[in-house]
């Protein structure tokens, strides 16, 4: 696999629904910040990839037109919660394939209040197979569907491994602690395990503080070839050294397992491909941004990414191997739980955080001597993108 440079990243402070600027303003600001960070003008961008889930067609153009009308190809990307990293994947592919030298990737989302739900009721539901499986395994409850799915996976894990409820809350406690140092995060107040457990139960074992909030925000990255980077004096830029994307395998539905249904095997396979392609295993990773839409999913992802052996996530968590001073630092940005989860922007916000970490620009939340970063971004429906970055 060749190497693609990330010469610029940018994001805006995430905000609650109704409190944000419009998507085009947020996205333009994030993109302009990424361009400024890259030190290039918009007219040097040869292609743009825009990721968002909620919005009419061609929102991407609406965004980049505010930077310039240069007639370049603009792609609008929609892949549920993994939208941002899917856009990143396409841009990386275009540069690596030699089609372009420089691409802008921008992800944004202006979300509504409340839990995610289907927007269209007059056509087949893309998550029908997932929903049917869940109904078969645990029935439908009165709770947001995504919380039922990931929460159900958490239940299954608890049954298999006897995990305590506090262990899930511990993940949220860590997320808040990390976000406390991230001025761009939505929820920066530190919470105790007790406070997290005492918040209203959404779907056992998940309480409210263990679910990511609907969020508005935008983030962007500028990717380029080695030649382009050299031309602009950016030889030392952070690079994507491996990237893989997977969608559902038969196991998602055949095994009647909630853990499998919410994408455990997608993540596991994508991580495996990335480790093989890069020749760098999980033990050499320093910092990780992973898809903690719910605490249950962060716990499962530790095992899917091979950060700890299967069944040992509880020990991993209580040993503090997911935070500063431990084996890894997961979600130094605060993750989706605390930083927020604007669907289209999330994948790029993760990318931005890792780039800052690997450049040593992460200020108070800097992971010491971070050289290798790993990104995991997952969407139900489904798609999972795992990306490895190196300074």
């Amino acid at each position: 696999m060749g190497k693609v440079n990330i010469i610029g990243v940018g994001m805006v402070k995430f905000a609650k629904p109704g409190k944000s600027e419009d998507y085009n303003v947020m996205a333009r600001k994030a993109a302009a910040a990424a361009l400024a960070d890259a030190g290039i003008a918009y007219n040097e961008v040869q292609q743009a990839y825009a990721g968002y889930v909620y919005g009419d067609s061609t929102c991407g153009q609406r965004v980049v037109y505010e930077l310039g009308l240069t007639g370049i190809p603009v792609f609008n990307v929609n892949n549920n919660c993994s939208t941002g990293s899917t856009a990143l994947f396409l841009a990386r592919q275009a540069i690596e394939g030699g089609s372009v030298d420089c691409a802008l990737v921008v992800g944004f989302e202006k979300m509504e209040k409340g839990a995610l739900g289907a927007k269209w009721d007059d056509r087949a539901n893309p998550l029908e197979a997932h929903a049917n499986l869940m109904n078969e395994v645990q029935g439908f409850a009165q709770a947001p569907p995504a919380a039922q799915m990931f929460g159900g996976a958490g239940r299954e894990y608890r049954w298999q491994h006897g995990t305590r409820r506090e262990t899930f809350a511990k993940i949220s406690e860590k997320a808040r602690k990390h976000a406390n140092n991230n001025p761009l995060a939505l929820f920066r107040d530190v919470l105790s395990v007790e406070e997290i457990l005492a918040s209203p139960e959404i779907f056992d074992p998940l309480t409210r503080y263990q679910c990511c909030p609907p969020t508005c925000g935008a983030a962007a990255a500028v990717l380029c070839s080695d030649a382009f980077a050299k031309k602009h004096g950016r030889e030392g830029a952070v690079k994507i050294i491996a990237q893989a994307m997977t969608t559902d395998y038969a196991s998602s539905f055949d095994e009647k397992s909630m853990i499998k249904m919410v994408g455990f095997d997608m993540a596991k396979q994508a991580a495996k491909q990335v480790y093989e392609a890069s020749g760098i295993g999980p033990n050499d990773v320093d910092v990780i941004e992973l898809h903690d839409c719910f605490t249950a999913n962060e716990l499962l992802t530790y095992e899917a990414l091979g950060l700890c052996p299967e069944g040992e996530a509880e020990k991993f968590i209580w040993d503090g191997d997911n935070t500063y001073g431990g084996k890894f630092v997961t979600n130094p940005s605060g993750g989706l739980l605390s930083k927020g989860h604007p669907l289209g922007a999330t994948g790029l916000a993760q990318c931005a955080e890792l780039v800052w970490q690997l450049r040593g620009q992460a200020d108070k939340r800097q992971v010491k001597d971070a050289k290798v970063g790993l990104q995991h971004n997952l969407g139900l429906g489904g798609a999972c993108v795992v990306t490895m970055y190196q300074a």
Binding site: D121, N125, G162, T163
Partner: protein
Amino acid sequence: MSNKDLRFDGRVAVVTGAGNGLGRSHAHLLASRGAKVVVNDLGGSAHGKGSSQKAADRVVAEIKEAGGEAVANYDSVTDGEKIIQCALDSFGKVDIVINNAGILRDVSFHKMSQDDWDLIYQVHVLGSFKVSHAAWPHMREQRYGRIIMTSSAAGLYGNFGQANYSTAKLGLAGFGLTLAHEGRKRGIHVNTIAPVAGSRMTETILPPDLIAALKPEYVSPLVAYLCHESCEETGGIFEVGGGMVAKLRWQRTEGKMYRIGRDMAPEDIREAWPTVVDFGKATYPTDAMSAIKPVLDNIAEGPSKGGNKFIDCDEALGYEFPESKSSYEQKDLALYALGVGAARDPLNSKDLQLVYEMHGEGFRSLPTFGVIPPLNAIIDMASKGKLAPGLNFGVERLLHGEQRLEVVRPLPTSCTLTHSIKVRDIWDKGKHAVVVMECISRDKHGDEVVRNDVSLLIKGAGGWGGERGPSDERNVPPKREADATTTEQLSANQALLYRLSGDVNPLHADPNFARAFGFERPILHGLCTFGHVARHVINAFCDGDPRYFKSIDVRFSGSVFPGETLHTEMWKESDTRIILQCTVKERDKLVISHAAVELFTEIPKAPDRSKKPTAKADKPASAEPISADVFTAIGQHIAQNSGLVQKVGKVFGFQLSSPDSAWTVDLKNGAGGVREGIDQADCTLEMTDADFMAMCAGKLNAQKLYFDGRLKIGGDVMASQKLTFLAKLDPKLVQQAAHARVGAGGETAPQKSAEAGPAEVFIGIGDHVARHPEIAQNIGKVYLWKLTDPDSLWTLDLKTPPGSVAAGEATKPNCTLELSQADFLAMSRGELNPQQMYFDGKLKISGDVMASQKLTFLKDIDPEKAKAAVAAAKQKGDVLKAKKPTATKKDEGPSAAEVVASLAKVLKAHPELAGEVGALVELRDTTSGTAWTLDLRAEAPGERVSEGAAEGPDSVFSIAAADLAALVRGDVHASVLFQRGKLRVDGDVGVAKRLGHLKQSLRANMSAAN
């Protein structure tokens, strides 16, 4: 150098006037960061005299020495094309142009020659034009360029002795703004700086130490940033120097807008001057479009509706006041009635009804009271300042000219009204103007109660040439003797009595105040006279019954003094319309003219709210009795006890609240009966629905309710004591009524007979499906509907073509939907959204949940066609008959307590089983709320099983009794209950898994016990 540094590698910059000062500093900075620089300098003096190549050469040498790349150019900026050509020849392109060259010719204006003017213009304006113009095509071609104009504070703000220079400098700012627009799409950014710097040009006027502080090095960084490719700024104007970098923009007052078509005289400008110059509400136009937008908006508003300094029709017409609220009760009505002369004869029974709440015939409200609440609202607003935006006259010009009032139905005896008041019309009567305010007052249900049109005559405020409005000559009396006349002498203190209803203007009370207004003594309120004449009509044409009164429309033509005699003449135009006028007998002065009263032919009833609770409440169709059932039962009770009517001989009105309903229990006329709404009641009882229900159930005593203020009794209070039979009402009658109301298949109580039941809805669905065979083809699923309260089962088969509907249970449904009958009916009427109901837990879906999403076609059913189908089915006798589910008596199994007892037995016999679990467990039965401690540790310090919560348990299991029984029976696996959330485990989940053995022993033990 870090990645963050701004570099200009590969860029070519032209800096004019770069031999010294600012230009030299710009050139140095750009070159030091990789730009190739054309250093242009004519080499002249600061005043534009002479030329020498030295300056440019020196700067080029300095750059080269520092490792940069630069060439010198000595052309005049007025030969701009040569300078650009030099860049092209030397470096092949031009990316950046910094128009910096400049000179001074300071001289006060009266001494300024045209040479001074022309030279400054040529160097600054023409020079910047020539250089930029020559570079422009190249920048367009390469879709990239950065241009800087150098302006000056002298240009932006003016400066003594610099008329020529400031003209040129502000010209450059405008030049830059337009180039920014033209270059935007081509990647050309143009910005203007107004530097403060110590240079050759200023060294003559500034002290040396200040010049040192104003180094060019404080200006160049901004110039470099603006010229960098990453900078998105264009069209900006910046003041920079001495450590400051700041952006300038235009600020504009909101100003004064004159509507198109309105006269605009110099005096108007003078008057509006404070507004014109008020920056309190400023805007910041950024381009010509945003600058002109208010003008376009003003034009789009259309021509003015006219007005003058007293009245601005554009502002005032249609203005809606903030909503206001007021309440009144019987006492207010009585006080008003006294205020307008009612019951002057206290033995007149009809009049007494207007003021005495215990009158045997009931209390009645005088409809003209309807002017009081909104009028008070207006007076209140007027007292706080001007009436409305655009009504700029003082109160002294204002006369109450005309008044129209209309009641929708007899005024309730107490009510909270919400008033919506707006300026409806403004008429130009020539000398005077008329402003008509419309006031609509609504009750708490939003139903209109009374409407007032208040016409205010504004003296001397007309004459703008506007519309005159409707003819003034309406309600003119016919030329014949009046059909009825009434003469009534006012009390000398009538105004003092009337003012207590709200209009406390001292003009009607204070002799000194009245004299100041030119009246010999306080005058009567016009609306007091208005109330008198309305009463005269009611007495003459409605036999004193105010409930037949609909509306009144009058003009106030003259003042009345208290103590004078009113003489009202009335002409009957039709059964519903009376024309009238009123004169003061003593002075033969017309005081009310152009007046008419409209009457109802029958008394309008209050809107029937009794259906609301049954139709809209959450669980309307449950068999839980509601007040409607009680009244049905009362009706039956009356029918069964024929002596009751004779014994009681009164009509009772029940006004129930939350939910609201109104009922009449007639124990006076014929065989008596119960009906909805209140009419002809001798005695009215007001209470909450809940209290009424409790009273009829014998749980609450009517007398106590009355003394607690929870029961209000109007009219014949004594009659209420005859209602004791209510507490003895047979509960069976009520229960029967409730069951009848919710009976399956739409067999509802009489008051609800029109409403469709589930059978009708399913007939409609069946009809729709039959007419759209494609629905069944596309869906291919069978749905079972389980309706509850009352229970019924329905099958919607969209699998077997062409699709059908049947009462009863399907053999193999794909999807089962469970909801209450009421919710089902509400959903079929489109009042409830299935998805919302599902999330609210009102709709339970089992089986193929996704199949339920295919039922969206239900909302396409045409209600008219469904009705027709029901009618057709009824004619054929082909009506679906609801089927109740066959009750399968479930073996609920042992209670949790029994399970625990068995467990204790097992553990006693086999203590080793506990050791396999090895944990202290708390078991909570969520059905009964009981908790037990199960000590399953190898060595238990006390009893292994005990009731009560455990202290520091390893795990807590929470489970419903039925689920626990099923678990012990082996019907369901613990992991399934856990996954479904029916078994909740706090703490160590592993314990739950280790209970397997124990469960088997337990099962054996329990079946042995059975």
